[in-house]
């Protein structure tokens, strides 16, 4: 028992040391220019946050991207859950919907750029692309979640003479909740990705725009700051939804 706790403490220490080492490595590579001028020291990247104008720019871009990603996550999750339930209610549709989801998932996100600009405009496309990026993950996890109810449970309800709707509402939807939450956690970084890629088609603001313009203008520190902000957004959304999942999922298992 003591050894178990000891090894846990050791692991925690190693993880902490690892985090410090990673940050130190980022700093050192920049300071000694080990990877050229494109990799600034971490401290210099953080320094630019002292400039109010930069801070405002970063904050506004982060908020725009977060909004788009959140909206995309919401739309993508709702649509794909509804479609997945539809496929369960009407099994005729199931195979076709599966294939449609797979093919849509294989379409390169950038290929949709021109279509979306023509239909929803430059400002709307990031959220739509985010929704599409979310859609596949959510569709797959919801579909398998709806199948997750055990045969024994289904047999019990069938023996009780439950209708399809009752089975869906009382058994299959609740049984699907853990996997839907799993999917949502996985989909959060995908939403951030979709929003940023969507911004690469000439959106008026956002982290994606900032990333590309900073790259083209050789504003290395700003570029890295935007990259770190994007990473932070993805990590935070993943962590928040992961926490929600672990808080809620146990009720349904």
């Amino acid at each position: 028992m003591r050894t178990v706790r000891d090894s846990r403490v050791q692991t925690a220490l190693l993880v902490a040391v690892g985090a410090v080492l990673a940050l130190a490595a980022m700093e050192a590579i920049g300071r000694f220019q080990l990877l050229g001028r494109g990799w600034p020291p971490l401290s210099q990247v953080l320094d630019i946050l002292h400039t109010p104008a930069t801070r405002t720019l970063l904050g506004r871009s982060l908020r725009t991207t977060a909004d788009e990603a959140g909206l995309g996550l919401l739309i993508g999750a709702l649509v794909s859950v509804v479609v997945a339930v539809l496929g369960t209610v009407l099994p005729v549709l199931q195979a076709g919907l599966d294939r449609l989801a797979a093919v849509l998932n294989a379409v390169p996100l950038i290929a949709l750029g021109p279509l979306l600009i023509a239909t929803v405009g430059r400002e709307g496309s990031p959220a739509v692309i985010a929704a599409l990026a979310v859609g596949f993950v959510m569709f797959v996890s919801t579909t398998s979640g709806l199948e997750a109810a055990s045969t024994a449970h289904r047999d019990v309800l069938a023996a009780l003479g439950a209708s399809r709707t009752t089975t869906l509402l009382r058994l299959r939807l609740p049984a699907a909740v853990p996997m839907v939450l799993d999917g949502l956690t996985q989909a959060a970084p995908a939403a951030v990705l979709g929003a940023i890629v969507g911004e690469w088609f000439g959106a008026p603001s956002g982290l994606g725009l900032l990333l590309v313009s900073a790259m083209q203008n050789y504003q290395t520190e700003l570029l890295w700051a935007a990259g770190l902000a994007a990473a932070l957004l993805a990590i935070v959304s993943y962590a928040v939804l992961g926490t929600v999942r672990s808080l809620m999922a146990w009720r349904f298992r």
């Binding site: 076709g96 290929a111 890295w224």
Partner: protein, 259 residues
């Protein structure tokens, strides 16, 4: 006569299967075509599917070169990423210290979409092919690393016990037991990363490449050649689906032998 009848019936049967599975995709394409025709939309805004397909078939040479570049970029990146992922997984399996030290990096990499970092990577390694290769490498590295490591750690206790009792050294356990045992995970990683390596390569080319399908797409958008742009997208989609189907085929054929 009856022979040809049977052939016809089988053909119709196969057609029916394809239709029952892909009717949604076909319906989408049909609706799109009809919509474009009915609204008399300008081809610059949205080209009809038929015109896109005919552009691809009429100008194969315009697509062949870029396709080759994209394929090369993705295959090189995929191979590099998977080899690196395999090596790192083995290194972390060997060293508990390394596994602890790398945990924060792995947690970060699990949630950060690599593709978003294309501009940063380009600034560090240089625009053009190096950046494209680096991105495809990173895209395939992480799933390989995670899957293979979980495979290495998931060998049944009875098997590791047998090796322990036989007095096997750690490299011997790795070579004779754990690596073969992790082959299915490696194949899963291939299925997951092969399609996304193609798409990531195309995205990187779009942003900064000087060749490949992504650049073809970007140029076509700039020069207002919608059929060409959509053709590039169509080919990328087909290649990505083909990669998925091929990787899944390899997985189905070989994964079973290792469990």
């Amino acid at each position: 006569m009856s022979g040809s009848g049977a052939v016809l019936r089988r053909f119709l049967g196969a057609l029916g299967t394809v239709f029952s599975r892909y009717w949604t995709v076909l319906a989408l394409l049909l609706a799109w075509e009809l919509w474009v025709r009915a609204r008399h939309l300008n081809a610059i805004v949205v080209p009809a599917p038929y015109s896109v397909v005919s552009d691809v078939f009429d100008n194969p040479s315009a697509y062949a070169g870029p396709l080759g570049h994209t394929l090369l970029n993705s295959v090189v990146g995929l191979a590099l990423g998977m080899v690196l992922g395999l090596w790192c997984a083995m290194a972390v399996w060997f060293s508990r210290m390394l596994s602890g030290l790398l945990t924060p990096l792995l947690l970060v990499m699990r949630s950060v979409p690599v593709v978003v970092m294309i501009p940063v990577v380009a600034r560090v390694v240089g625009f053009g092919t190096p950046a494209v290769t680096t991105i495809t490498t990173l895209v395939s590295f992480f799933p390989t690393f995670v899957m293979v490591l979980s495979g290495l750690r998931a060998a049944p206790t009875a098997m590791t016990d047998v090796f322990a009792v036989l007095g096997a050294s750690r490299p011997m356990v790795l070579r004779r037991l754990l690596l073969p045992h992790a082959v299915p995970e490696l194949l899963v990683a291939l299925r997951l990363t092969a399609p996304s390596a193609v798409l990531a390569a195309m995205l990187a080319e779009y942003l900064l490449g000087r060749s490949g399908l992504g650049t073809l797409f970007a140029d076509a958008v700039v020069f207002v050649a919608p059929q060409r742009a959509w053709g590039a997208a169509l080919i990328a989609t087909v290649v990505s689906v083909a990669c998925f189907v091929a990787a899944r085929g390899v997985e189905r054929r070989y994964a079973g032998r290792f469990r």
